[in-house]
Symmetry: C2
Subunit: 259 residues, 2 copies
């Protein structure tokens, strides 16, 4: 099995190095990761400036390719230019900090996996639920187990698995659950400060309003110490509203305009 | 009606100024738009550096707020800090270049509208299907008509209308269609060049592979000169795969590991 590994924390982040260690036990790994941290970049791609690719060494050995772009850039560049043939799987992570509920929308980790799904390559995004996480070992094992499973079973092209691992000792893990994206959202606050020159600037902060109670949602699952596995896709159509909107008969607005 | 207007082309772009002109006929408009062009930034938000807000003047009059961040930053900052009360509607655009099919994922224009939907404010993203578009007038009228309609009828919170307007003379417009997100994708090509110092760099280019034939998809609708209106949401769960994944019985993998 050939696996492309990327992330959004950058090629020198510990979570990525642990992930590579575990995936090398089952596959040939190619690392293509951002040169610099790319958290919360969403599904950005670089088009206004060209990209650079740098060979990244670890302890004197070639470790992977560093791209001075976004996670989605890394996956595109890896699959199109850097690998001789497309990988069997893309794994993005291990992120420090959960990617559940609304955070999926902003996540660079998830966007790398989603770019793979768009390119018809099965993929996994994996995160540990604590920004200050120190131990990625259990999440590394989970990535390895799920990579093997996904390679055997397949999900439909265009779907990726978004995995969140609670940051608790392994013996406290309650199990694993297939989940839906939760509805918890941020109550954003812009903290206003004044720079040494008397001008305002603003830091985005806020509190996550946890509304998810059902255990089969990502946010509730991790709160209850379950590993959460959410299948997500990139068809954003709201089919329920699609049917409703047709009943609005929008065409009458254009007829009216001509009378 | 109070409308917040944003975009991804920047506060000095022509498409935004035409949009404001038409929406002012029906509402009180607040402009909060990026200081610089933010195409293809996806749903990026700014967290690593603070934001600045600048008062932007046009012909000596206050026109709106320029934020040195992403489209999603503008909408968050506009609703949380700059407007006295949340707007009734957010309209993002008018973008030069279509936002159909897979482009929705990368689009800054759509991410501004999506951020509004996340914040429970109804929203519209509007684009004209040509990067070199010169005349935004018809799209401006469409935005005005749909803004009034959406304000009256309401869609569920969390859904936005993604509108694409063909860049043809108004008399050639075939009508308006409610559509689904298409499946057309890019065949990406990284064009390799060599800089004056002998180092490689890469430009992302490519061709859109148009696979959408059904007229009720965004890409097919605009090709046939219809205004396309697609309801999209931010619940990314793939419910079909969710049901299938439960049958995989992932919990057996964790039991096996302990034996």
């Amino acid at each position: 099995m050939k696996i492309l590994v990327s992330n959004d924390d950058g090629i020198d982040s510990n979570g990525l190095h642990v992930l590579v260690k575990y995936l090398k036990e089952i596959s040939e790994v190619t690392v293509v990761a951002p040169l610099k941290e790319q958290s919360a970049v969403g599904h950005a791609i670089t088009m206004q400036i060209p990209l650079r690719v740098i060979n990244y060494f670890k302890n004197g050995d070639f470790f992977g390719y560093a791209v001075d772009g976004t996670p989605a850039d890394c996956v595109k560049m890896g699959i199109r230019n850097l690998m001789k043939e497309p990988p069997d799987l893309v794994v993005s992570g291990i992120n420090h900090g959960s990617n559940t509920a609304i955070n999926i929308i902003y996540s660079g980790t998830v966007s790398a996996a989603r770019e793979a799904a768009i390119m018809d390559v099965p993929s996994i995004a994996i995160s540990v639920t604590n920004h200050a996480v120190k131990n990625f070992e259990f999440a590394g094992k989970v990535a390895k187990i799920l990579a093997l499973e996904l390679h055997q079973k397949k999900v439909p092209n265009g779907t990726l698995l978004n995995v969140n691992v609670p940051d608790v000792p392994e013996e406290m893990i309650a199990g694993i659950l297939v989940t839906k994206q939760g509805k918890s959202k941020w109550d954003d606050i812009y903290e206003q400060r004044i720079d040494p020159y008397g001008r305002n600037y603003y830091w985005l902060t806020g509190n996550l309003i946890e509304v998810d109670k059902e255990i089969q949602t990502d946010q509730a699952a991790i709160k209850n110490n379950y590993v959460s596995v959410t299948p997500i896709h990139f068809d954003l159509t709201d089919y329920e509203t699609y049917e409703k909107l047709k009943e609005w008969k929008l065409e009458r607005l254009f007829d009216a305009k001509n009378t």
